[in-house]
Structure formats: structure tokens, C-alpha cells
Amino acid sequence: MTLRTRLFVLVGTIVALTVVLVTVTVSAAARRSFAALDAQRTAVLVAQVRREFAVEGEQVAQRLERIAASDAVQRIANDLRRSAGDPAASVGDAAPLAQAQGLDFLDIVTDQGTIVSSAHAPARFGYRHPLLTGETAALDPAGAPFLQRVELPGDAALGMMATRAVAAGDRRVYLIGGRKLDEHFVRALVLPEGMRAVIYRNVEPAVSRRQFVDASGVVVDSGPLEPLVARVRESRQEARDVVREPGGDESMAALPLPGRDGAVLGVLLVGSSSRELSALVSRIRWSGVALGALGIVFGFILSYAVASRVTRPVEELADAARAVARGTWDTRIETAGSGEVGDLAAAFNLMTRQLVDQRDRLVQAERVAAWRELARRLAHELKNPLFPLRLTVDNLRRARCLAAAEFDEVFEESIGTLTSGLESLTAVVGRFSDFARMPVPVFADVDPNEIAQRAVKLFQAQFAGGRRPAITVTLDLDPSIGTIQADGEQLGRALTNLLLNAIDAMPDGGSLTVRTRRVDENVVIAVADTGTGLTEEERSRLFTPYYTTKQHGTGLGLAIVQSVVADHNGTIRVDSTPGGGTTFRIELPPARPGDRA
């Protein structure tokens, strides 16, 4: 995973978690606030309903009082007293009295409990009033208003009722009247925004949808409210629930409305819509989503920018490092900026600049050292032949005084010496010239085993000993090695030089092993001896031209070997420890340089 991806994931995760946390926290706080507000509003509305009940009851009582005080009722009472309760003369009197006072219900009842006239159920005359089925004394003639189930023709209703009594001689007439508890009552309530009040009139044996009324009349869809009402009917206790409505959840409180005997005659349902809460939570949620999306986009941009600022220099640094590895030491990173990446770039540039400087200095130093070594070697090589030449020239100068015969003899001898010396000098110069003029390799398919065998064969005599101890030669050649593209002559020359070095390293004899192997696609040719081995310092300078540890060496043998191997795009490595022998390992590619794909 790249730094950019990691940064993107990290920033996105942090932003998303933060947004989710904030959203959840704010939503929970909003819910708590709304719940508290709901409870408060519900309590206010319930108190208002109780006040309205009290006001309604008071109004009913006042209206009933006015009816009781009317001449008409006094006349009815007198008529009833005279007619011993015959309702014929008064059967139609309740309706106009109720209508005049705006009452929905009015029963005129004798003190025997018989209905004389009923405004809401005119046909019920002659029957006993349900409130007076027992002793008439049980009816408080001026008691507090109360809720009562009222029988209607073919129906039943819930009423806020009151009672009054009118005396006529020794008899009394009861007035039992009230107003219907319906949508008009609910309409009188001042409902806060988002709240509603529903009254269930518990006047039927089972929960009935048509008994749910709100300010607009019968509640069209009262299905969700029915379980709550059923609970209150059963428990006679207040109940609360969340009701699922099409417009959203609604927190609903249901309060029983008891009658005179404590029976639940109605249920007040106060609903507080959670639509606002849902809208707020939705807004918070969508804001969270929007912020999250923005955060993720921001994180992407930020991660891209940061990654660009961080990884691009790093990538440039990696590219530069690879360029340095390829040998382009003067590689520079053109990265502006500050901070660690800037310091790193500056350090890299400083490093490459110093590397180039050091390389230049090293090259210069090596060049100087090489020249010195060359000069020393050249001086050494030239000094040996020059010294006999000088002595010969001196002998000739002295011989001028000798007899001619003797002089001729000395002269001939000196000429011979001078000639030999000049030939020696010419040979020295030729060797140096040969090294300077290494030919361009001519590649062809060659068999490394064959080259190795031919090279070993050249030194059969030296291996056999004679004036020195013999060397045991072992050829460990891989028969399946195949051929490689190489210049066979130069490769043979390189092997020859390595064999010569090995012979020189084993003056007391030893064991020489020539091995060929195929490693991956490359061919490895190893020459191992059991000679004196090399010190660390010798090993580090082994391939330096003109460096030698031998008395009469030119120091060009291994330099030529390295040159040949390099021309074949191969590598040469040496493993050696003092006294432990030395192993040269040449690794050559199967194809010539430039033929590789």
C-alpha cells in the first residue's frame, strides 16, 4: 500500500469517525431535548385539557342552573305534581330547553327516577334514568360535573354532565343535562405546533374506530392508536407509546378519563409528532454525510497533496539513487522546499556531489598512482636492461686502450651485450604497448570447457615439475555447459594469465582446480589453487595495472584478465586468505553485450 493510499485511508477514517461521532452525539442530544420538550408540552396540554374539562363542566352546570330557574321547568314540575308524573304534557319540553341553552343532552326526570322528557332520546320517556336506577338520594342535585355515557337512539355518546333539582311542593324534578364530548371540545384546545389531541369515547364494548375524535371530527386512521387505548381500558392507568404514523413517529400519551364510579369512560390521547425531531435528525444525518463526503474529498486532496509533497521527493530520490547505482553519479534532485524532505534532497545532492568529487579525486589519485606505478615499473623494467648497457659502454670506453685484437674481442662481446640489452628494452616496451593496445574482442560461439582444457594443456610441462615440485591439476568441467558468445582467444589468454598466477603462487607445488559451471544462465569459470594466498591489501589492489608482488612481474596479467572479462560484460571475483589458496571466479553471460533483450 502506497503512502498516498495509507494517507487517504487514514485521513478518510479520521474524518468519517469524527463526523459519525459528532452526528450521533448531536442526534442523541437533540432526541433528549425533544423528549424533555415533549414531556413538558404534554404536561401543559394535559393541564389545559383538565382546565377545559373544568370550564366545560362549569358551563354545563351554569346552563343547567338557568334551565332549572326557568318558568318552563317550574311549570313542568307543577304539571307533573298535579298529574302524578304523567309525562304526556311534558314529553316534548326537554328539546327546546336544551336547544335554548346549547346543551346536547337534557333529561327531565321525576323524583321516582322516571324520564319525563329527553332532548337527546325523546323516545325514552317513561323509563327510569340510568343515574336513578337505585335510590334517588344517590343523585346529588347540585353535584360537580362528571363524565357520563349517554344512551342515544341507536348509539351512545360521552357527555360532560351535571344535575340540578327543582322543587314543586313536596315533589322534585331532576334535570340531568350536559354537552357532548366530541370534536368541538377538542377544537377548543390550543394545541402547540406538532401536537394533537384525540379523545376516545369509551362507550362501546370493544375499541371502536368511530369513537376516536380530534378537532376535525372522527379520526380517519385510528388503527395505530387502538392498542394504546386498549391498554388504558384494561389497566385504567396512563400509558405511553410511540405510534407509527405515515408522517413519522408520534409520541403518544394516553390518559384515562374516569366517570363517577371510576370506570374509564374516555381516553385522552396527547400526541407529539416526532416529525420535527426526525427532520432535525435527518438534517443532522445528512449534514454528517455531507461533511463526511467533504471530509473524504478533503482527505483525498490532502493525502494527495501531502503524498505529493512527501512521496514525490522520495520517488525522485529513489530514481536518483537508482541513477547513481547505474553510475550516473552526478545525478541531482531538483526539489524545492524545506523540512525533512528538503534536507534529504539536499543531503542526497551533497552526497552525489561529494561522490563525484571523491570519484574525481580518486580517479585523479589512481591516475597519479597508476602513472607513478607505471613510471616505477617502467623505470624498474628499463633499469635492469640499462645497467648492463652502461657497463658495456664503460668497458668499450676502457677497451680503446687495449690492443686491437683484444679490443675487437671486447667490442664484439660488447656489441652482443648491447644488442641483447636493446632487445630486452624493446620487449619491455612491446609488452606495455600490447596492454595499451588491447584488441576489440571478436565474439563467436565458444565452448568454455574447450578453452579451459586448451589453456591447461599449455602448462603441462610446468605442472609436471622438473626443477620445481609438481602441481596436481584437476579439471572439473560441466559437460552440459554448452556454448557462450565470447572471444575464445582473449578468454584463453585470460585463463592463461590466471594459470600463470596460480603456478607462481605454488612454488612448492600444490593442487590446481579448473571448474566450469552453469549458474542460472551465466557460465562460471573458476581457477583455484592451494598457494600462499593473498592479504587483504593485495586483494584490493590485485587488478590494478602494473601492480605485482612478484620479482619479475609486470603487474599487467590480472589487469588484462579484468579487461577481457569486462569486455565480455562479465565479472571477476577473487576469494583468498593468506595461506589458504586463492580462487578466481569468472562469470560470463551467455550472450555478448548488446545481444540481450
Binding site: 304534557a89 314529553v91 323516545a123 325514552r124 320517556f125 317513561g126 341507536g154
Partner: protein
């Protein structure tokens, strides 16, 4: 002529007594304003009314314009009208009616026997009518002992048809104009019984009961329909109440699915639950009679107990023995009949007190099939046999067939045959009489009559004898 004679006497009585007799002296002139809920679409006696109220109104209005040969005497029997005498052979196969002389039609021409015969041919299909001088001879297709009674029906009123739309009668009033909601009758100046006191009768139709009450209380009408429940209010306001004998019968008629023997006990229990006395005395303000039998005693002449079965008083305990579905009934009432609605409500209350669940159905359109209907049936105030036969027609052949397999008594049947058929109708409580109700009218205090009441015992409008007392003038 009698009214003219009275006028002469009155003039001769002198001015001194004028003030004393002012209140009782008939006065000519004025328009008698009548309001009614019913609507009359056509004045032709041969036409049928669209509804029950329309038919009742037609029975009241048409005799004012068109007269029959004979008419029912409220005291019993028949009395002459256009025919001064009538006779038949023993079998009732040939009837002779002597036409009253001097009868002028509304157009001033005299009524002739051939016109009467022609009119009867129009209304009595299959009868043979001929004239013999001033005698109209009627030969029914089959002998009929009650043909004279039949001819007392307004359907057989004598109509002289000048053209398809020009009908002329001989009644005390002629039709001045008939509009959708108003009928104006003008006094027939040459009426053989004497010119009516009022110049005209204006009948406003299709008036709601409350509007009628308001009209008479405010003086905009002299005579209006009256609901029984309003009689006390009318009396308290100083108005008069005119009533016929109980001419309408309310019955509970069970539907076929409730008429089976399996529901017999339920029907009897429901019939026993209905407090007829309370309905008659309280709900209908004592203006109605609790009905135990179909025919009122004044018409049948026998005691209701002779034909009415005994229904034990139903109680909740006894009703609880019935299956719930049998105890639950739907009672249908006529939505246009306020009295029926009130009676239906009371029956429902009585039934509920006895443990039934009765829903009163007042259908405004299509409605589910009821279990029982409350039906108002107009009784024919003529003879018991004709009344019962008409009841059978109005109640419907289906209801009668559900109640009994017996056939209705024939014409001029003996009273015991009438009683037997009535008993058969009532015995299974498929038809349960509830109450007999009269026709009630509120009459202004300014309305006086010279002969008889404003409304006859048989329900007729006695407007030819009505005069309107003018308000006393301040000196």
C-alpha cells in the same frame, strides 16, 4: 241555498243584535290558506298519486272539485250526493242512480245523466252504464252488493272531460290553477249545495311541518298539517286542532326471513315489548289509539280482543333465551314520515328495555334488508270488509301471504268473516298493529264552520262550510 236563507235571517235580525252575533255570523269572502307537506301532481281522479301523502291529499282535494254519486256518512252508511236515490236488484247486478237535478258544472252548464254515465265508463272498466231519463243504470261485470260503496270512492267522481286537459266537475270549488307547489281553488258560485263562504282556497304544497307551524302561528295560513307531538304547542298558542277519526294504522310487518315459524316466539316477544299505550298517550299526545287489532272499533264494531292475540309482556330474562342473532333486529321506517320515525324510536327503546337490540333504519337510498318494517296504512273509512280488503292491498300481497293463507273477505262480507280474516292476519304476529292515528290539522282561530267540523270524521275537508272570521274593527 241554506246559506242564503241564513243571510236573509241575519239581515232581518237588525243592527242591535249585530254586535252580539258578529262572532257567529258566517261571512263570505276571503281566501282559505292551507299548507300541507304532500304534493298533488294532477287533479284528475283517475290519476294515481306518486306517494302515500300525495294520495291522501288527493282524497282530500278531489271531492272539493269532483263529486261522487254517493258519499260515506260519518255516522255510518251512505248518503246522497249527486245521486238523490239509488236502488239495485237483489243480486246487485243492476243498479239505478237518480241524478240530482239542478246541478251546475263549473262552466255553468247543467250536469246531465249521459255525462255521468260517460264518466263512470271511464273509471269502471267492464261496467255497463246507461241512462234512463235522469237515472243512470250501472251493471257491473259481476254482481256487486257493495257497488254503491264502491261509487263513494273518489276514483268514481263524476268528471266531465271537455278535452284531454279540460276537466270539469260539479264540486263546491273549481280549479283555478295547479302549480308544482300551489293549488288554487275558486268557489263555485252555482254550486248546488250553496256557494262556499270563502272565495278561494289556496293550498301551498311541499311545506315542511316546522314551516307550516310557523305559518299558522304567524297568520300566514289558516289550516296546516299537524304532527301529534305538536298539538300541545298549538293549543297553547290558542289555535284549534281538527282531527279525523283514527284513519291511519301503524303496523310492524316482519320480512319473510323473520316470518318463519322458527321466529314466532321472537315476533311475539317483540310485539309484547311494545308499549302501545305510551305511544298513543304520550308520544302522540293522546291523539291516537293503541291498536290491538287492525280495524278500529268505531269501524269494525267489535272489540279488538275478539281478534287480537295475547302477547305476553317481554322481559330481559325471557328475551335472553333467544339466540343473539334473533334478538338483533333492524327496523325500517319511512324517512319522510316524522311520526313513523318517532314511533320507530320508541319501539326500539321498548325493545331494548326488553333485551332486544333494535336499530332503526331510516334509509335515504339503498339500505341493507331490514328484519321488520313499520308501515303506515291508510284505512278506508267506509265498511269493515272494504277497509280490511284495502288494508290487504296496502299492506301488500306478500305481507298478507306471510301472515295467513286465508283470502280476504269478499264484497259485503259478513262481519264474522271480516273478524275471522283479521284474526288470521294477526295470529302469528307477522303483522303487529301498533297504533291508530287520526289526521290532525292545526286550524287558525279565525276559521269557523257553518255545518260540521273543518275536517270530517272520515278525514274529508269540509271547506265548503268554512268561513273566515274577520278581525274585529276598532270603532
Amino acid at each position: 241555498m241554506k246559506r242564503f236563507r241564513f243571510a236573509s235571517l241575519a239581515l232581518a235580525s237588525g243592527f242591535a243584535a249585530a254586535a252580539a252575533v258578529h262572532a257567529a255570523r258566517p261571512q263570505y269572502g276571503g281566501t282559505l290558506r292551507v299548507e300541507t307537506q304532500a304534493t298533488l301532481r294532477a287533479i284528475d281522479p283517475a290519476g294515481d298519486a306518486a306517494d302515500r301523502e300525495g294520495a291522501t291529499l288527493a282524497r282530500r282535494v278531489r271531492p272539493l272539485v269532483f263529486e261522487t254519486l254517493v258519499q260515506v256518512d260519518p255516522r255510518g252508511g251512505l248518503r246522497p250526493l249527486l245521486a238523490t236515490a239509488w236502488e239495485s236488484d237483489a243480486r246487485g247486478a243492476r243498479w239505478r242512480f237518480r241524478l240530482r237535478s239542478g246541478v251546475a258544472l263549473h262552466d255553468g252548464t247543467p250536469l246531465e245523466a249521459w255525462q255521468v254515465a260517460a264518466s263512470l265508463r271511464m273509471t269502471a272498466d267492464g261496467w255497463t252504464t246507461s241512462i234512463d231519463g235522469e237515472v243512470i243504470v250501472v251493471q257491473p261485470s259481476a254482481p256487486r252488493a257493495d257497488l254503491a260503496w264502491e261509487l263513494s270512492d273518489a276514483r268514481h267522481a263524476i268528471v266531465v272531460r271537455r278535452s284531454a286537459s279540460e276537466l270539469t266537475g260539479s264540486g263546491p270549488f273549481r280549479v283555478e290553477r295547479l302549480e308544482p307547489a300551489r293549488l288554487v281553488l275558486r268557489a263555485h258560485d252555482r254550486y248546488w249545495g250553496g256557494r262556499p263562504f270563502v272565495d278561494a282556497v289556496a293550498i301551498d304544497m311541499n311545506r315542511m311541518p316546522s314551516a307550516q307551524l310557523a305559518s299558522i302561528e304567524s297568520g300566514r295560513a289558516e289550516i296546516v298539517d299537524l304532527q301529534p307531538a305538536d298539538t300541545r304547542r298549538v293549543v297553547q298558542r290558542g289555535l284549534q286542532v281538527a282531527a279525523s277519526r283514527p284513519l291511519d294504522l301503524f303496523v310492524l310487518a316482519f320480512e319473510p326471513h323473520r316470518a318463519a315459524a322458527a321466529h314466532d316466539a321472537v315476533r311475539r316477544a317483540l310485539a309484547g315489548a311494545v308499549d302501545r299505550a305510551a305511544i298513543a298517550s304520550v308520544l302522540l299526545q293522546g291523539r291516537a289509539d293503541a291498536a290491538e287489532a287492525l280495524l278500529p272499533s268505531w269501524l269494525s264494531g267489535y272489540s279488538p280482543s275478539l281478534v287480537a292475540p295475547e302477547f305476553p309482556r317481554a322481559t330481559r330474562a325471557s328475551t335472553a333465551a333467544f339466540p343473539q342473532e334473533q334478538r338483533t333486529l333492524t327496523l325500517r321506517v319511512d324517512p319522510s314520515d316524522g311520526v313513523a320515525k318517532a314511533i320507530g324510536d320508541r319501539i326500539a327503546v321498548d325493545a331494548r328495555e326488553a333485551g332486544f337490540t333494535v336499530a332503526v333504519q331510516v334509509p335515504a337510498g339503498l339500505a341493507p334488508r331490514p328484519d321488520v318494517r313499520l308501515v303506515r296504512i291508510a284505512l278506508d273509512p267506509s265498511s269493515p270488509d272494504r277497509t280490511l280488503a284495502r288494508f290487504a292491498r296496502e299492506a301488500g300481497a306478500r305481507s298478507v301471504a306471510l301472515a295467513t293463507a286465508e283470502t280476504a273477505p269478499g264484497a259485503a262480507a259478513a262481519i264474522d268473516g271480516v273478524a275471522r280474516f283479521e284474526r288470521a292476519l294477526l295470529k302469528d304476529a307477522v303483522i303487529v298493529p301498533v297504533v291508530h292515528v287520526p289526521h290532525l290539522y292545526a286550524v287558525s282561530e279565525s276559521v269557523e264552520t257553518w255545518d260540521g267540523a273543518v275536517v270530517t270524521p272520515t278525514g274529508g275537508w269540509n271547506f265548503a262550510n268554512v268561513w273566515i272570521r274577520s278581525k274585529p274593527q276598532r270603532e
